[in-house]
Amino acid sequence: MKIKSYYIFMAFFLMCSVAIAQKMEINGSVVSDDGMPIVGASVILKGTATGAQTDFDGNFSLTAERNSTLVVSYLGYKTQEVTVTGAIIKVTLPEDASVLDEVVVTAYGTSAKSDFTGSATQIDSESIGKRSLTNVITALDGASAGVKVSTANGQPGSSPSIRVRGIGSINASSSPLIVVDGVEYVGSFSSINPNDIESLTVLKDAASTSLYGSRAANGVILITTKKGKKGSRTYSLEASTGIVTRGVSEYDRVNAEQYYPLMWEAMRNGLSMSGTTPEAQANIDATNGIFANLGTNPFNVPNDQIVLNDGTLNPAASLLYPDDLDWQAPLLRTGIRKNINFSFSGASENTDYYVSLGHLNEEGYVRKSDFERVTARVNINSQLEPWLKTGLNMAGATSTSNNANDGSSTGLANPFRVGRYIAPIYPVYLHDTSSGAYILDDSGDRIYDSGTNRIGSTSGRHVVQENLLNTDKDKNFSFNGRAYAELKFLNDFTFTFNAALDKRFINNESYDNPLVGDGATEGRAGRTGIVNTTVNYNQLLKYDKTFGRHSVGALLGHESFMTERNYSRGSKSGLIVDGNSELINFTTGLVTNSYTRKLAIEGYFSSMTYDFDKKYYLSASFRRDGSSRFSNDVRWGNFYSLGGAWRIDQEEFMNNVTWINTLKLRGSYGEVGNDNLGGYYVSQPLFSLGYNNMGEGGILASSAGNQELTWENNIQSDVALEFGFLNNRISGTLEYYHRKSNNLLFDVPLPVSAGLDDFPDNIGSMSNKGIEVDVNFGIVRTRDFNWKLNINASTLKNEITELPQEELINGSKKLVVGGDIYSYWMRNWAGVDPADGAALYVVDPALQETGETDVRTKADGTMVTTNHNKALYGFAGSAIPDLFGAINSEFSYKNFDIGFTFTYQLGGETYDSNYASLMSSGASYGSTLHADIVNRWQKPGDITNVPRLDVNQSSAFNASSDRWLVKSDYIALRQMSFGYNFKELADAIGLTRARLYVNGENLFQVNAIKGLETGENFNGTNSNRFTPSRVVTLGVNVTF
């Protein structure tokens, strides 16, 4: 229905455009110095808003009177004016010496890139438009040196995490500030239609970010939405459809025929090696007893004859239901992604407009995971008076999504966990135990096996059934509005007032069925409603003046920001009537709750820019910010930056050096801040409500607070060389950065005896430094064939320089001065004893007493222990990479184009806890094993790194240690697109552009272990999460 209505819209607009094209035409073409057609150049009839854009062959047509003047312009070329003398016009645009003169979106404004003293990377709508992105932030992956993006999970619409230039803080947020159309954005990126995005800009250094002061410590991402352009009225229609599949394959695991003998061996060794049963008797006991420990016999042989006394599978055994032992298959599917976007834009003399509608429906590759979104945007700007301009940009997005249950990595309803670890002997459905046939219900359907014969946590649960019967559904509505008025006065002054309102309504529906799982036996349901409101005002007074060769700019500003979260939740149990999860259909109230949280920030700021002769640039900025997170006396902080640039290419002595087109040296230094230690009220000592004892109100001490808590600051320096050689065939940036985080906002651990875990304080410091390289090669630039290659790379060195206590152990990491934030601190694995297959750890000399039976000496003299509690801990690498970056390339040959992005990482390690669990030598009954378990120790003399299977040794043999660290090196094909432009056809039917494309996202990753998803978390850990999806899309893009 919805799609149909879009087509009606489209047809309506098509008719309009035909009706307008009535007059006599001029046909022209625009080419560059070297005769190459310029695609997308703007041709405007001077003094009017009438105009056209050149097509793929550089051709344009428009109606004009003889002797009128056309203004022809294109980015990177000098604008030309030509007089209409005939019906056919050829315009040659000379290249502008400074091709770097792209416009960069900056804090509270824009700047020509050549004039910019800061560090920024911009991604334009062109490259976003070639990809089928549900979440626009995904486009940042691989786009900029020094920006690390963790892949979003497989839930359609989910957002990745971003780190700009290392890890800024230990306990406070390390995520960059996100600004949409000039205002901090608190909503979800999935509410933004990627097709509405004009540009994404990453601001990396203090000179570019410090106007955001207190929120800029971890970099800033600016998202700018599209607006109408003068000179063309454009209709754009994009429709695509694609398939969504699992992007990371599963770990290799054993099958049923392998599993039973392996568990027999684990049981036997538990009796004979950990226990005192003689081996011959243990063999008999294991053969007789293994069935009882596993609960289910999937074979056609008696329960006590599945595994023979020699530990081999009974040769007569064959599986009764071999096709029903995979617990992932019933929940996996190939999802379908459908997307349609329609927009129109343009400008009259005084007013420009952009209007879009979009509809997306994406199914995840797991059943009951999907995302449907409808977006609309209107952006109108009008020059009401010569001195007054105003505009309104409004977007609405509504979405509905079913979420797959991966919230808890260890949850029993988590299909990724259960599907991975369940033993391959348990059927999904009920079977006749003798024939193996499916047992069917009255209507002929298979019946889920309720699992009383399963051993372990899956007993009595059914992850497939639960996921199909349960519901976790979000219905969201987002409104984002931006309005402004801009006044020009006294020639050089501009006053701008911006007001923004972001509102987000979240409604979550949860339902746990009464048959199986957490909701059994009564059924329960919950509703959560959240309203997020963000209001932002700012006032900017700008002054720009050029005196001869001097240009001066100044800015004075004020900003106030307030965000509020209203939360309410109710849940009930006791389902009354099937098929209705509304709370009225339940008998018993469980939880009713609500709260409001509010954060306010206010800032005053100023900046100055100066350049002399477009050669020497200076910039300075200052911001004073107050945050409601801190107490009255200490809530204000001062932030600043200084920047400078020298455009060496503009110097006279460079005139003769023709092979250098661009050469610019720039540097910056400044201080920005961070107030985000989680809660909005961290500085206040509090007792928390919510501890009622029956009907009596109760409170408990919840936070120590700290009235002195204040800003974490981040001192950043940056020096860079921007270059362009050989007609800019080779161009790029070489950059060094150093960030020093001081007065870290720290949850300082308290002695546990204080009765609270920690208190917030400004203690500690940490630095991040690295070199970033970004090089673009124009390898081939001919009329028919173009090949561009971009390589970016960044190093990262993170170092803790001060801590509140000598060392802080945090899970698998230990923080010490001189170490990095993600340094692993683990037991030192010392291999497997060839004599008995025991796991060995290097013994901690402090815990080693003479004559102890659990301490051994290895052949090489190393003192080792079989007791993991006596193991020596030590540093064992880090999750921080040595080098990471991306390789981007675009080819075009005639009508074809191909583009791709590889991302890569060298160095760093991942702690693969999923692999560790699958390699459990303790082998808990009912859990499966990794295929690598075939390398286990089996008899004295075996030299291996995999201990013996032994059910009694799970703690000792499978303790966390550096055994489970794997290299994080990887290369991944993040995206690839292939397009065909129907130039002739488009011309023939009057379209500006028609493109057919295939795009693939997340195509593959090559890394250490099959099944591992390197880079899931910045800290190198992994979990049983919804692994990313691979999306392959076929689409068509038409502009007219």
Binding site: Y595, T596, F687, Y691, M694, I699, G755, N869
Partner: protein
């Protein structure tokens, strides 16, 4: 000129709209979910908010599912003993404790859980004890709040010193390391006080509580009155081998309570309004912790992934010691069939049937794990008094035991009237009476007895540890690593 008029108006308008943020309170935000610490001892009404919070702190979750308040701490004490039997691994909760892997590993979250939880309760108690003087309100209310805070502090230190300290040896100076004695809301590191010093403070708190709570009538048994302070004094004196004190306080404490009859014991044991219960938690529907509740582990009928495969059983050896006519024998089923359940109670087909499983505890329903949690029952007072008197050679000891035992078993007839034989009988009665209620590890430790799980229905691969000699270093819980990391003055126990 006209243009500039318009402009001025516009500028003023926009400035007016936006500079409203310059109001001086724009940056002053207060939470809606919390109360400023400074005001909690301002009035006696506020003090009671904290008292109720402490009552509630006995049944809230501390991080992970196996860490739901005092009932989870009681389950730890049971899992470390020999009378409580896990019949399967199920979803694994408490199995590492059962294997003695938890409190012997300083990095274990379950080793930290008691230490952290009790100190949290102590911090709240300290807030009230220190601030009571300044609270505005009736003196009786002030005393009621203060008295309960003192009980909580004394009780929490008692629970902790029994775990983390070396055994209290009656008659010695008990200078071995106890736990840090934090009596205020300060944050700085402090060293461990001696076991003797900790016990001295506990007695001081309870003595003051008894004075403060004189005449206080509580609204229900989730609150603490004088009898609870007396009952705790009796418990503590027993650990210290101070038998006269134990006997006296046990006798004082049980005034006003009566033992449940056999019918109630069988049909509705977990009812805190019972005349036998002295102190317990009652969990309202909207305050449930679902799979974390006591009933989600120890009840027979709740359908949790823990109970279905792993219904909890009594040691077959202990079961065999119970007289056939004792109502308590009917709470355990050697066949595991549970054909005789209280009215309205049923098991699901997915509930595994295992020998010797318990139906002492029954949850609200198959889908509702709530049930009242017992922290003190009057039968314990009889047992304390009898044990103390038997140790003193008091001839009335056997009568005190019989007074309770005959209510459980109409055919009860004592055969032992004095000496070690009587003490042994009292201790068996104690194990049977208090099964599942969190006493066993404490009792083994105070009696300096070994752990002996042999010859009963423990599964070797689940229990793993069958013998721990008396006096072994493992009777002392390791000081949690988190506490050591943040407190340089803290010393670890022997590994």
């Amino acid at each position: 000129m006209k243009i500039y008029n318009k402009l001025v108006v516009l500028v003023l308008l926009m400035a007016g709209v936006s500079f409203n943020s310059c109001q001086s309170d724009f940056l002053d935000e207060l939470p809606t979910e919390d109360i400023a610490s400074g005001s909690v001892t301002g009035t006696t009404d506020n003090m009671f908010l904290v008292v109720n919070g402490m009552h509630r702190s006995l049944y809230v979750r501390y991080g992970s599912q196996g860490r739901s308040g005092e009932s989870a701490l009681m389950l730890q004490m049971e899992n470390l003993g020999e009378d409580y039997v896990n019949t399967a691994n199920a979803n694994g909760w408490f199995i590492p404790t059962y294997k003695w892997n938890v409190h012997t590993s300083a990095t274990s979250g379950d080793d930290l859980f008691p230490y952290r939880t009790y100190y949290r309760i102590i911090r709240n108690a300290n807030t009230l004890i220190l601030g009571a003087d300044d609270a505005v309100g009736p003196i009786a209310d002030k005393n009621a709040a203060l008295g309960q805070a003192l009980i909580y502090r004394g009780w929490a230190y008692f629970q902790m010193v029994q775990r983390y300290g070396k055994r209290y040896v009656p008659g010695s100076d008990n200078s071995q390391m106890g736990v840090p004695l934090r009596l205020d809301t300060g944050d700085e590191p402090i060293a461990r006080a001696s076991v003797e010093a900790v016990y001295a403070q506990i007695h001081k708190d309870l003595d003051e509580a008894i004075v403060a709570l004189e005449g206080y009538v509580r609204p229900n048994k989730s609150h603490l009155d004088k009898s609870i302070a007396q009952g705790l004094k009796a418990r503590i004196a027993l650990v210290q081998g101070n038998y006269p004190m134990a006997a006296q306080f046990a006798e004082d404490a049980r005034v006003g309570y009566t033992l449940m009859n056999a019918d109630d014991y069988f049909n509705k044991f977990s009812d805190y309004s019972s005349s036998e219960w002295m102190w317990g938690s009652h969990i309202q529907e909207d305050q449930t912790d679902y799979f974390g509740n006591f009933g989600a582990y120890i009840s027979r009928n709740y359908s949790s992934s823990n109970i279905r495969p792993n219904p909890k059983a009594i040691s077959s050896k202990l079961y065999d010691l119970i007289s056939p006519t004792d109502v308590r024998k009917s709470l355990f089923d050697p066949t595991g069939q549970h054909l005789n359940l209280p009215p309205g109670v049923s098991l699901l087909s997915t509930h595994s049937l295992k020998p010797y499983t318990s139906q002492k505890f029954i949850a609200e329903g198959n889908g509702d794990s709530r049930m009242d949690v017992p922290y003190m029952r009057v039968s314990e007072m009889y047992l304390i008094e009898a044990e103390a008197k038997a140790n003193l050679g008091d001839p009335s000891a056997a009568n005190v035991l019989a007074e309770m035992a005959v209510v459980r078993d109409p055919d009860y007839a004592t055969t032992n009237t004095s000496g070690q034989a009587l003490i042994d009988e009292i201790l068996i009665q104690r194990r049977v009476e208090l099964w599942g209620e969190g006493f066993r590890f404490y009792d083994l430790k105070r009696l300096n007895q070994p752990l002996d799980r042999n010859g009963a229905n423990h599964t070797p691969s689940l229990a793993v540890v069958f013998d721990v000699p008396a006096g072994d270093s493992r009777w002392q819980w390791l000081i949690p690593q988190d506490a050591l990391n943040a407190n340089p003055l803290l010393e670890q126990n022997p590994l």
